[in-house]
Amino acid sequence: MSMTITEKILARAAGRDEVKPGDNIWVNADILLTHDVCGPGTIGVFKREFGQDAKVWSREGVVIIPDHYIFTKDVKAHRNIDILREFVKEQDLPYYYDPGTSNYKGVCHVAMPQEGHVRPGEVIFGTDSHTCTHGALGAFATGIGNTDAGFVMGTGKLLIKVPETLRFTLNGKLQKGVTAKDIILRAIGDVGVDGATYCAMEFDGDGIADLTIEDRMTICNMAIEAGGKNGIIASDSKTEAYVRARTDKPFTPVTSDPDSPVKEHRTYDLSELVPCVAEPNLPDKYAAVTDRTDVKLTRAYIGSCTGGKISDFVMAAQVMKGKKVSIDTFLVPATQEVAEGLMSEQIDGQSLVEIFAEAGCLDIAPPSCAACLGGPLDTFGRANTDEVVISTTNRNFIGRMGSKQAQIYLASPYTAAASAVAGHIADPREFL
């Protein structure tokens, strides 16, 4: 039987020759990811169910990356990180990235591949819906709740339903000023916020080869915004080079069988895509930038697992170089590595940090999730009033970045930067 990449990975993880959509199967996990918001509850479930002295199923399998509420005075947020620390010590876990130390990373989904925890063909469960990001490297990766995570922590297994697949074939090349974010906002706009519910979103086509690993992460990151169970792109030589540079662990990549049946198939000519936004309050409210240049903004936000990678800041800097922003512009690198890249990456001899400072952006914040999800009241960049924000993040739900009065437009780093300069939604192609 011919199978999709998702079906093949799940079949292998279940020890079966084949599976089909709708099968309920127990699969073996390679990695369980958790963070400061869901880790303490997961640990609570694990101990309640397996006993106070229980040991995790695999010390190397559990990856804990605190990232959500780091730079806040909130007492409970700090208590939660202490719970993680204590657990890591008790279980002697090698993969913990402690805030306040040189080992701190930042946003888990950018740190995961960066630290070599994402490998093609593997199964990753994470207590965060954007765990789907890791499909960008050809893994099956999906978000789960604390109870399921507590179960995985103790057993290394989870009962899951094999998803149907929606296949998006991306052909051709993006035009200048158009990015991976524009691809995924277009796709979500087309299928709707529940259009991929329970389904795998698989991206293939000759356009993939040109996309960087970070571009692919941007695309898979937002699969959940269409309700997808996972986003996935088969690995290629770029993926393998990226992974091999970061880990010695062996892995066996998997690809879809040619013409494996899917629930729905859409084809895109990338050269026809344009810079776009998702309007408040849902990620599927697609609009071309050129149709929304009348929208006045009060702030711009560049950060998160979707739009806070080094390539995202390079794009923003290309637009802002030699210009001034006209609204408050918040920059939050996803990880420490990205923060370092802001100093080392240069455009025409000028570092990104210098370009942003000259453009009048606010001082760059230390890496974390920050205002992507609002967070405690003292969070950097949190929208506390009726702000109108253009943001490189992934969600524009009511209240997502703080106040319910705030309106959030999702966009690419190019579009966010161009709009920060213009003070209204602006077409980045005029700035490049």
Partner: protein, 185 residues
Amino acid sequence: MSDTPPVITGTVYVVGDNIDTDQIIPAQYLNLVPTIPEEYKKLGSYALIGLPEACPPFVEEGQMESAFPIVIAGRNFGCGSSREHAPIALGAAGVKAVVAESYARIFFRNAVATGELYPMESEIRLADVFQTGDAATLDIGAGTLTAGDGTVYSTKPIGDVAPVVSAGGIFAYARETGMIGTDSQ
């Protein structure tokens, strides 16, 4: 969840489509850890506090629980994050069941895995039929929601997850089916 599917009678709270987890429990309350009993209760007091201001309060100010045991919703209820705090906040507030036109996958799964509430799907859209404060009786076993005027609406069979729900969540199911030992508490 108990062995016999319950019959729930009370007033309903009605919401529309795409009620995301940020509206069910906004991020600023995610510092609360659901497995710590006082914090579990506190999560309940904040359930649905992220709805637009025009909506009637789901939990009255100063109360820990809601007066509405049943939530009726449109499509894609619980979309967004994987935070289990969402079904837990509703469960802690005293919600026994949600009757929605459809669910986001992770919310549905978390509701089942935790046993916090029954995520029922309605055959037809009920968000336009009921109004907040209407009386109703939900018979989980029979798959019916009966309005105050006696009109009966059916809910869909709970499907593949039925064995997990009737066992009482993922741990109980795994023990029943021998996937994990029964000796751990």
